[in-house]
């Protein structure tokens, strides 16, 4: 059985149709990337998947008892709110010490347990958010433009971490990204979204689809090839 199944999803906000007739199915262990221009409804789709947005039509079905790890696009961290990383991981419910500590170690952030959230760098915040998502051993990890605001080495390191976590934990990964060249090559399936699903398939199929080229131009195909090239060599020089 699939983890999440979406059928005929339609979301209207403020009189504007944001998503229409979206079908989506995610199987256990698969890496799916959603690409699309700004305002194409990528974040709204993820919010509908976690139940933060109610569909106006259609259905979002989760496997009963599905454990989701969700990493939001960004955190509205106000400097007036004093909170350390440990407290953040224990919200809204306390979790066993071994669990939050283990999650921090998994993302290489075990030194940050006592650091104040407001003092973290962008990359550190992403790692802490990822640790939070990993705490209840998710069957699927949902990442919304997780590398926004990171520099290139930072986001490359972040994606390496994701890939490694996938092979360690075997969870499915659904992510939204605008960094096509970095993400697509690592994906089993790419979905090109622009209010509706324009096209989907393996990275190669999508990159050469006319609908995709109409949205992103042809330049990205070269970038994809470039990434494949780098990928076959050394990860650590990314």
């Amino acid at each position: 059985m699939s983890l999440i199944n979406v059928q005929g999803l339609r979301v209207v906000r403020g009189g504007r149709v944001i998503l229409s007739s979206v079908d989506l199915d995610i199987a256990a262990g698969e890496i799916v990337t959603i690409v699309g221009p700004n305002g194409s409804g990528k974040s709204t789709l993820l919010q509908a998947l976690i139940g933060a947005v109610q569909p106006d039509r259609g259905s979002v079905r989760q496997k009963p008892g599905l454990r989701i790890g969700y990493v939001p696009q960004k955190l509205h961290l106000d400097a007036t709110l004093p909170m350390d990383v440990t407290r953040f991981l224990n919200l809204p419910r306390r979790v066993a010490r071994a669990r939050w500590q283990g999650a921090l170690e998994q993302v290489g952030a075990d030194g940050l347990a006592r650091a104040q959230m407001a003092g973290l760098s962008g990359g550190q915040i992403q790692r802490v958010l990822l640790a939070r998502a990993l705490m209840n051993q998710p069957e699927i990890l949902i990442l919304d433009e997780a590398t926004q605001g990171l520099d290139q080495p930072g986001s490359a390191a972040f994606y390496q971490l994701i890939e490694q976590l996938r092979s360690d934990l075997g969870c499915a990964i659904l992510m939204v990204s605008h960094e096509l060249h970095v993400v697509m090559a690592a994906s089993d399936r790419v979905i090109c979204l622009n209010g509706h699903v324009c096209c989907q398939g393996t990275p190669e199929v999508v990159a050469s689809a006319p609908e995709y080229r109409a949205l992103f131009g042809t330049g990205t195909k070269g970038a994809l090839a470039l990434y494949r090239h780098e990928h076959s060599h050394d990860h650590h020089h990314h």
Partner: protein, 269 residues
């Protein structure tokens, strides 16, 4: 002498009760950047006063009703994404203007407007003190009950959803608490300075606190100190009580920020 003791004691108790209600909620007001939300709710209370006199209804209930209506409107608009800073500002100040106009239109009513604008802490009755402490207890219970959910909803509505917490419901809790604070504090602080009593102790506590809980407790202590010192000063130099209390709180804000600045510089050196 006993009479004097009594009204000072009542003033003290009323002030402490109001601070107990306002200071922890004030933390959420600054964490969520909703200072205008507090102002709009508080200013609308004058309309509630006018209504109470027109309908000869109890002031507390009337103020609570109007403040709640205003708070719900603002919460609804901000939930829809309409509540730009400008709109909230317009609502906060026009609520005050309409309230003042409404008060002046009530025939034969001799309302001591100053008492509602700036509070009249020395005139609170035994019953008022009871109502204030009852309201404060209710607000504290609500915050205590929802504390962790409120925090995660403040950090990120999406993370709250993912953790099974509905951010709209938490917003509702704060909206209710806000209306209650206004109804409780109007006799003590007055509508013009309720906003100040919400955010000043919390802002003063911020540099001294490393966790949200400690910030709420410190804000309450700083608020209590402001009430005691402010009342004493008001007697000593014969100034109006509520503004003196707020002025003391503002001095606490200045002192705590200066102190943390000095400490930071000392650590760097």
């Amino acid at each position: 002498m006993t009479l004097l003791d009594n009204f000072i004691l009542r003033a003290l108790l009323a002030g402490l009760g109001a601070v107990l209600a306002a200071a922890p909620l004030g933390c959420f007001v600054i964490w969520r950047r909703m200072a205008y939300f507090g102002d709009a709710t508080a200013h609308a209370a004058i309309l509630g006063v006018a209504l109470a006199f027109a309908l000869q209804a109890p002031v507390f209930l009337s103020v609570l009703g109007v403040a709640l209506a205003m708070a719900l409107t603002v919460a609804f608009l901000s939930g829809r994404g309409y509540a730009a800073d400008a709109l909230l500002g317009v609502m906060a100040h026009s609520a005050l203007a309409f309230g003042l106009v409404a008060v002046s239109l009530i025939p034969n009513a001799r309302i001591d407007l100053n008492a509602f604008l700036f509070g009249d802490i020395l005139a609170v009755s035994r019953f008022d003190v009871l109502v204030i402490w009852g309201g404060a207890a209710l607000i504290l219970l609500m915050l205590w009950w929802r504390w962790s959910s409120l925090l995660i909803a403040t950090l990120s509505p999406d993370l709250a959803h993912a953790a099974g917490v509905a951010p709209r419901r938490e917003q509702m809790v704060l909206t209710l608490a806000m209306a209650l604070v206004v109804a409780v504090a109007i006799k003590v602080i007055g509508v013009l300075l309720i906003g100040a009593m919400l955010i000043t102790p919390a802002a003063a506590a911020r540099p001294l606190a490393a966790s949200p809980e400690r910030m709420a407790v410190l804000a309450t202590l700083i608020g209590a100190l402001s009430v005691v010192a402010g009342l004493w000063l008001a007697f000593l130099i014969d100034t109006p009580a509520a503004p003196t209390i707020v002025a003391v709180a503002a001095m606490c804000f200045l002192a705590s920020n200066l102190w943390s600045g000095v400490r930071r510089r000392a650590r760097r050196a």
